[in-house]
């Protein structure tokens, strides 16, 4: 077991806890950079999609896991980002402008939804964001002049400084870069007053207020940041799917995003990454599994959503800390072997804000 001896306050502000972390994450980054060289196009594309989902996962983690506000409408922010990017690209605006523009557009939408829903929490907020999601979905379908309606349209290839971002490899590197940026922003946020204010709102609104935290302001900031990051992810998503149609941004996608957060583990950025891996790899696993199941079950139409739902429920019931929490336990088991006690994590509780827990 490693014991850290801290001698400066700066150490608590560092992004990496110690040299070992720096080495491990550095190695991981090197491996990720080499993936397109080593693996086939299919895997590169899939991993790129994992990154895109991870960006949304991180965004939603800030909102659900750190601020305690549940959103079931994040597919709408993803869609706003995707359409903003694609439509602007089509008009000939360079990609270096359209990418941030999609983030800003989604952030503005986040403020627009944040302000009227400030007084809501828990289930009511979830319903309000769900409604917002379906409104935006309808706009995508009906506003044919811009979105092309159900016919959709092909997303132009982006170029950065004259280099076209083409194929799975281009999207892969671009998504990795944006994911790293979003993670960096999130970590900055969490070591700053805003991040602490978010955690304060999650754990006790009344005392957050008496600590001088303006609840409406910080909830709106949290919504805007989360939506903005999701917008960036949406811009990348447009290039991943290459053809935009409004039915991509439905409630099922929103539920997948929420699954990322809950299965990954509430209140940790690691959890968002683990969750994204899980949510993207599960459909593949189901596809493979179908062949081995009796055809009555294997060919059932709603198999995938029902497995998603089942896993979400099981996870909330039995492992509220998600994959990340389980990983922490496994790590502690080996670190303290053979002294591990089952009760080490006894006092930890799920802190998703729900009516029951308040």
């Amino acid at each position: 077991m490693r014991y850290l001896f801290k001698t400066r306050y700066q150490q608590d502000l560092a992004l990496f806890r110690h040299g070992g972390d720096r080495l491990n994450y550095g190695l991981l980054l090197v491996v990720l950079l080499l993936v397109p060289v080593m693996l086939s196009e299919f895997y590169v594309g899939e991993l790129g999609a994992v990154f895109i989902f991870a960006i949304t996962g991180v965004a939603l983690m800030l909102l659900i896991g750190y601020t305690g506000l549940v959103s079931l409408g994040h597919a709408a922010f993803l869609g706003i980002g995707a359409y903003t990017n694609a439509v602007l690209l089509q008009k000939g605006v360079p990609f270096v402008i359209t990418l941030p523009a999609s983030g800003i557009m989604a952030a503005l939408a986040g403020i627009a939804i944040g302000i009227p829903t400030l007084r809501m929490s828990g289930l009511y907020l979830a319903i309000a964001t769900l409604a917002f999601g379906s409104i935006v979905g309808t706009i995508f379908q009906k506003w044919t002049a811009v979105t092309g309606g159900f016919d959709g349209f092909a997303v132009p290839t982006p170029t950065i400084l004259g280099f076209p971002i083409e194929g799975a490899t281009g999207v892969y590197y671009l998504s990795l870069a944006v994911l790293l940026f979003v993670l960096w922003i999130s970590m900055n946020l969490l070591r700053s007053p805003i991040g602490r204010a978010m955690v304060a709102i999650r754990d006790s609104e009344v005392s957050a207020q008496s600590m001088g935290i303006n609840l409406s302001l910080y909830k709106t900031i949290a919504f805007a940041i989360s939506a903005g990051m999701t917008g960036l992810s949406g811009a990348l998503f447009a290039h991943y799917v290459r053809f935009l149609a409004p039915d991509a941004f439905d409630i099922l996608l929103s539920i997948q995003f929420v699954t990322i957060v809950f299965v990954g583990g509430l209140g940790s950025l690691h959890g968002a990454i683990f969750g994204a891996l899980f949510v993207r790899l599960l459909p593949q696993a189901i596809a493979i599994g179908r062949d081995y199941l009796p055809s009555a079950i294997g060919r059932m139409p709603g198999l995938e959503p029902s497995i998603f739902g089942l896993i979400l429920v099981l996870c909330i019931l039995f492992e509220p800390a998600g994959i990340h929490g389980r990983w922490q336990k496994v790590k502690l088991y080996f670190n303290s072997f053979p002294m591990y006690r089952r009760t080490s994590f006894r006092r930890q509780r799920a802190y998703a804000r729900s009516e029951r827990l308040r």
């Binding site: 304060a200 006790s204 940041i225």
Partner: protein
């Protein structure tokens, strides 16, 4: 001039007058205790001062400024900190993080600087940390610094909540039943902390308290309430001997 004053403060919930024309003044540097049976309106007065409730009528002044209309999140910035009867800590955060949240009203860094964690944000964080460390060593919380609140015993949580309020660097500290849930020893320790806060930090304290031993140990003046009305005000011994007060607590015609 007194540091804090309530004039004809009243609040009504439906037909119930929870606080009924209560007036009192608190001088700079004193410990002012509010006592009274359950439902007397003690915590309601705290919630009025911290602006969680709106008074039906009356006026609150702090340091010569009318605070009756100030939004609740500005109260901390004015220099009024509070604790809660049933502990309202951020239970999934560490002691250090909780205390740092107490510094929130002193942070002046823009959103952009925080997102990019510019050098100005880093410097501000270190400065806040130094202030927090002062409080940690004042209350001897060093060994709990990185512990999650959820893993702390109740008595320590009480001290952490006190510490979080001190991180606001308040001029007026509202303590809502600082001894509730504590045993005799812990209550005495709490009494010593309150004395230190008054003497070493020069902070004025208003506290709601049931434990008369703590009240007579630390408070300079006591106000007794019943059914939202003031029964008696004065030195602890004086109020404790007041017939009205004894009647309110014990009942009958004592």
């Amino acid at each position: 001039m007194s540091l804090f004053a309530a004039e004809d403060l009243a609040v009504r919930f439906g037909g119930i007058k929870a606080v009924d024309n209560v007036s009192f003044e608190v001088e700079q540097g004193e410990v002012f205790a509010i006592i009274g049976p359950n439902g007397a309106g003690k915590t309601t007065i705290f919630n009025l001062i911290s602006r969680i409730y709106n008074p039906t009528s009356g006026r609150l002044t702090f340091d010569g400024q009318d605070i009756t209309e100030v939004p609740p999140y500005r109260i901390a910035g004015l220099g009024i900190a509070r604790t809660f009867q049933n502990i309202e800590l951020f239970s999934n955060a560490s002691v250090l993080q909780n205390l740092l949240i107490g510094r929130h009203c002193h942070s002046r860094i823009s959103v952009g600087a925080q997102l990019l964690f510019l050098p100005s944000a880093r410097r501000a964080e270190v400065a806040h940390r130094e202030k927090v460390e002062d409080v940690i060593s004042f209350l001897e919380l060093e060994r709990y610094r990185d512990t999650l609140i959820a893993n702390l015993p109740y008595g320590v949580r009480k001290i952490v909540e006190l510490g979080r309020a001190l991180c606001i660097e308040p001029r007026l500290l509202l303590l809502d039943e600082p001894s509730s849930g504590l045993n005799v020893e812990e209550t005495e320790v709490m009494g010593f902390w309150i004395e230190d806060i008054k003497k070493d930090l020069g902070i004025t304290v208003i506290m709601v308290e049931h434990d008369m031993s703590l009240v007579s140990m630390v408070s300079d003046r006591v106000m007794a309430l019943n059914y939202g009305r003031v029964l008696a005000m004065g030195a602890p011994a004086e109020v404790q001997g007041n017939h009205e007060v004894i009647r309110a607590y014990i009942g009958g015609d004592a």
